[in-house]
Every structure is written in structure tokens, then in C-alpha cells.
Symmetry: D2
Subunit: 163 residues, 4 copies
């Protein structure tokens, strides 16, 4: 582990909870290709959800909101933030265990903290636990416009036996 100081949340995750994980099975390119192939509906109407980072125990995505992700008044809708949290957590698990298994969301708890500014939202998902049967993930969502935390989620995934 190098001695330089983490300068963003992804870096910090690598050094803390993420530090328990060594290496990943899929990088940003592999994750992006997998999503495009297996979940074409995610970006069916334009490139809204992009994998931006992945490392031991974490992954990051950016949402570039389109009209259908907005509420009147120009804020990103609740279901869109839910989708961003769920997808980023799924990608963090995938990075770690590879494209073998199909993890299924069993629980997601989300707190909406501030009305997001109109603009991209960055999400970082960190694996709190990756067991044989269950994965638990912590997700932070911040506005790319002003850096403010707009929502936080914790979610659980059931990992099928064959994984």
C-alpha cells in the first residue's frame, strides 16, 4: 500500500474497507462491456449510466441524467437514484466475483439527503461484506456539480449457490 494520501472517496475506499479485498476480476472496460451486453435496457435511450472506476472492494458510476430521469423543477427522480445505487452496488460485486453469478437484490434502504442540483451524479459503492450467500454494500451518491452528498443507500444481494 503506497503512502500517498487518498484524495477522493474511491481512493479512501481502497485504503479502508476495500483494503480487505485484493485485486479485482473485472476492470472498468470489462464491466462496461458486460453491462452493455447483458443489460442493454440500462442505456437503451442514450448513455446515462457509465462505469467510471473499479477496484478491490468498490466501484463507481456516473449518471448523466436525461429528461426521463428528472422530476419537474429539474431534480433527479427518486427511482433514478434508486437505480443508480442498485446498479453501482451490483457492479462492485461483479468486479470482485466476476461475471459468473447472478446476484439478486433482496433489500435496499435509501436516505434522500438533499435535492440534487441539475447535473451528473457520482455514485461509489463499497462492499461491506462479500460472503458466500450474501453481499452487503454501502453506496454514496454526490452531485458532480457541487460535490454535495445527495443520497446514501445500503443494499443486500443474495448470491446464488453456484457462484
Amino acid at each position: 500500500m503506497d503512502k500517498t494520501c487518498p484524495t477522493n472517496s474511491s481512493e479512501i475506499f481502497k485504503k479502508t474497507g476495500g483494503g480487505r479485498f485484493v485485486g479485482i476480476l473485472m476492470d472498468v472496460e470489462a464491466l462496461s462491456s458486460f453491462l452493455e451486453r447483458e443489460f442493454p435496457q440500462v442505456n437503451a435511450h442514450g448513455m446515462a449510466f457509465t462505469v467510471t472506476d473499479a477496484g478491490a472492494g468498490f466501484a463507481s458510476m456516473r449518471l448523466d441524467p436525461m429528461d426521463r430521469h428528472l422530476r419537474p423543477g429539474g431534480t433527479v427522480s427518486g427511482p433514478t437514484l434508486f437505480a443508480l445505487a442498485d446498479l453501482t452496488a451490483y457492479v462492485a460485486i461483479l468486479a470482485q466475483i466476476g461475471p459468473v453469478a447472478l446476484a439478486v437484490t433482496t433489500n435496499l434502504n435509501i436516505n434522500f439527503l438533499r435535492k440534487p442540483e441539475l447535473g451528473p451524479i457520482d455514485a461509489t459503492a463499497k462492499l461491506l461484506k462479500l460472503g458466500k450467500r450474501l453481499a452487503v454494500v454501502d453506496i454514496f451518491m454526490t452531485s458532480a456539480v457541487n460535490g454535495e452528498l445527495v443520497a446514501h443507500a445500503t443494499s443486500t444481494y443474495s448470491i446464488p449457490p453456484q457462484a
Copy 2:
């Protein structure tokens, strides 16, 4: 309170937790008009979300899923069930306090219980608490195809001071 036996969950809600609430300020027709006027984006691409029932302390909605609500394999997506839960809870609050206030979702916890059959989903939201500042709502979502419970959520809304 009459002596006939409740035959569905809405009826049961009227008799239990809902029993603390007396009357409503908006009925199914008023709620539908309000949604159409204030949240046109909800059904912008076809009539997917419909208010089906409302009474003291509860409201029900039906989702008739369209292509964009589905995952490959023909199941309703997580964000769509999230949207259904959140909207039904919002409508239950609206029925009780009227169109004055703009309640804001602060927390939503959802458990995905079974992969839903392809077809409509019925949601019933029951007010667990309706305070001056916070409302807490319990939401059950069942498949209209086989009656099975597919998801359950609990959510919290902040009610603005002017309400």
C-alpha cells in the same frame, strides 16, 4: 364499524391501523386528477400507474407494466417497484391531508420477496403515522396474476411546516 368481514387488504386496513383515521380529503377521482395535473411524467408514455382505492389511512394503486418497466426475462424491474411503492405511499398521505402540502420522501426501505409474474402489480399503502412533521407508511405489493406478495416497503416523508 360494520360487522361484515374484510375480504381484501384494503378492507382490512380500514379496520385496523386505518381505523384511527376518519374520512379522507381526496377520493380516487380527485387523487387521479391531481396526479395527472401535477405529475404528468408518471404516465407520460401510457397509463401505467392507476389509483384504484383510497380510504381513511390508506390508498391502493395498480401498475400495468409497459416495456420500459421490465427486465429481460419479463420481470418488473426494481426501480419500477420502488416507484410504485413511493407513489402509492405519497397518494395515501395526499388522500388524508389534501393537495396543500408537498411531502418529500426522506427514507425508503424495500425488501424484494419473489420475482413477480409478468402482469399487473397491486400496491396498498397504509399510514403507520401521520404527524405534523413526519409520515411513515407501510406498503405491500402483490402480483395481480397469482396474488403473491412480491415486495414490501416502509417509507418516511417529511411534511413541510406550512402543511
Copy 3:
């Protein structure tokens, strides 16, 4: 199913969500003996937690709060309501699958709705899902003094493979 009208929440549970479950493997007496034998610490300092009902898909317990369960001002503490919710849910699972397996709590989400009156608290736990690997339970807690709902919880249990 008889035609008489449910008069309390346990009765209602039997007729709705609980209706999917047929029979139980442990009744109130068997559950009480099991708790006394396997979890002596629960009532180590006096009979505070009592199993009061059990049926297909649900169980009920009563808390008779003692000094150590109270906060200054005479209200039941948060950790005590947490313990009541968790224990009642565990008992509901036990009633259904018998004393074979050791279910482990993986998630509990609790909403505190009203400051409870000083006095007993009744909890009813209903199985929302009982799968091979996961059980999800809904728990309502009401004051036995005035019947008001004081807290609501949803919890998830991991069921070990040998179950």
C-alpha cells in the same frame, strides 16, 4: 376458513399473509420451553418477554417492561423495542420451521412512531417470506395500555443450509 370477522391483528394475519402457511411445528408452549432452555438470558432477571400466540405464518409476544427496559421519563427504550421485534420475528420463524435451524438476523429496519405509554407492549410478527435461505418478517408493536402503534420493524434472517 370461517366467516367470522377477525378482531385482532393475529386473527387478521391468519387470514391474509399468514394464510399461505398451513399449520405450525411449535405451539406457544413448545416455543416458550425452547426459549427458556436455549435463551435463558432473555428472561434472566424476571419474566419480561412472553410468547402469547403463534399460528401459521405469525407469532405474538408481550413485553412486560422492568426497570432496565426503561428510559428516564418512563418510556420503553429503543434497544428494548429492537430486542422485542427481533425476538418475536425469530419465534415466528421457529414456529414454522421448528427448532432445527439457527436463523441469524442479518438486517433489521425499525421505525419509532410514538413514545409508548408506560406499560406492556404487544408485538406481532408476520412472515412475509420464508425461503430456503432467507426469511423476511414484518413486526408491529403496540402499547397494551392504549392500543396505539408505537413501532414497526422489518427484518431479515439467514437460514443455515442444514435447515
Copy 4:
């Protein structure tokens, strides 16, 4: 902000989410005195819960478990971890807004990740939001024996108007 690298979670919190908060109104000593005076029941039977750190946007506590906090097999009980999470979050709010207001827990969602080793548990609570009416807090609990994350919680507090 200095350039040295954070070496523990409290340090990291100061540099990230905690960075939005400037200074605190109560330090470790003031928080400890307040707890002792206002919540004597917390440590009524021995010094189990100790405030160990406090800073802009966060606080840390240590649990030194006593017999009554344990389950058979020597693990810390669920209600005890709940109490630790809730208390640490409360202390983090108190540090920031001072002893004026009485924040009330409205929601707590906890994930149990690993069976803790017998020994002290360290908790750090970080303010995700501190609004006029609501505070949302993220809490990480790790075993002091092996540094493993044993539980994670997110909780919400209602702050009374006079605050």
C-alpha cells in the same frame, strides 16, 4: 487541512463528509459528562460505553461488553450493537449542535455483517445530513480485537423545533 494521510476511520471522516462541518460545540470530556448526567442508566452497571473521539461531523465510542451484553457463545448481542449505534449517532449530533436539543431516533437500519470476536467494539458515527428538522447518520462498528467490520447502521433523528 494538513497533508498527512488519514490512518483510521475517524481521521478519514474528518477529511471527507466531516469536512463540511467546522468545529464542534462539545468535546470528548463535555460529551462524557453530559451522558453521565443525563443518561445515567447507560453505564449504570459499569463503564461499558465510553466516548473516545469527537470532531467536526463525527464521534466515536467504544463498547467494553459486560456479561449482560453477550449471547451464549460469547458474542455481543444484537440489541447491544443497536444501542451502541444509536448512542454513538446521538453523541455525534450532540457534539455538533450542543446540549440544547433533544434529538429523537425515528429510524434505524442495521446490517449485521460478521459475528464479533469477544472483546471491545469500536463505533464511529458520521453525520450524512444535519438539517433543521432531521439528522441522518452513518455508523460503522468494528471489532477492536481484529479490526473487522461487524455491523453497519444508518439512522435518522428528528430535531425538535426549539433546537
